[in-house]
Symmetry: C3
Subunit: 110 residues, 3 copies
Amino acid sequence: MFDPQVLVNIGNHFDLKASVFQAPRRGIYSFSFHVVKVYNRQTIQVNLMQNDYPVISAFAGDQDVTREAASNGVLLMVERDDRVYLKLERGTLMGGWKYSTFSGFLVFPL
Amino acid sequence: MFDPQVLVNIGNHFDLKASVFQAPRRGIYSFSFHVVKVYNRQTIQVNLMQNDYPVISAFAGDQDVTREAASNGVLLMVERDDRVYLKLERGTLMGGWKYSTFSGFLVFPL
Amino acid sequence: MFDPQVLVNIGNHFDLKASVFQAPRRGIYSFSFHVVKVYNRQTIQVNLMQNDYPVISAFAGDQDVTREAASNGVLLMVERDDRVYLKLERGTLMGGWKYSTFSGFLVFPL
């Protein structure tokens, strides 16, 4: 049976706006992300947000590297209709979200 | 139904001592971790331990970056009562485990 | 019941050839990888391949660091008999795949 609680965002088509996950049911979900910055002289901070609350953060700050990812992952207890999404808390993504991924799935319902 | 085989450690509340996962049943589990070091002149090595055996390692060694994560993940066959935890094999974490995460869940029982 | 749709490659025994996952059934699978390069003066790019198509990429390019991982992860809709594997698109891995991992499991069948 198809389980609709899957968010898949692959590679070049990653888009921040479209990537709000709204939970169709209460449960434990697994979320992970890898946000790739291209070469530039700044640090990025990416927050995984649950509703308006930042749950975890990831950083990428190397100034000498062409591409570097800010990655993290977490298991979250999510209520029905909660929104889970990424927020670029610090820095900018020149070149957009290319190569970045954001994935989530229901581990089990509650 | 609530499935108790979940270890969730989020953000600032990460604590090494509390993060020993003891498996309530035999099965395949997914574990992943992101351990964030703050700026300092050393390399950290983090091991994922199953009982007293290191299963996988991750490294963070950039000396010019404010925050960097040592990340890895794995699927593990776990026996009942096995203990799975992180061990800082090398280096120190100034500022503690802030921003670090350690997650695990049962993929399926055996 | 044992579910055979699990690919586990741990630490030192990682081998590119042996790591082709062939899906026994249609479904959504979770894949993640952490490929560790040792110190050398080049950038590596690792692609996660579905059949002959690159789905996502990861990079590691720091030149001053002993070990660094190119990591990414994704949920994939996989057809029966699809092959999923890693490809080193750019650079070389001196010292082989030591410390690298590649994991996948069935999230749910379709």
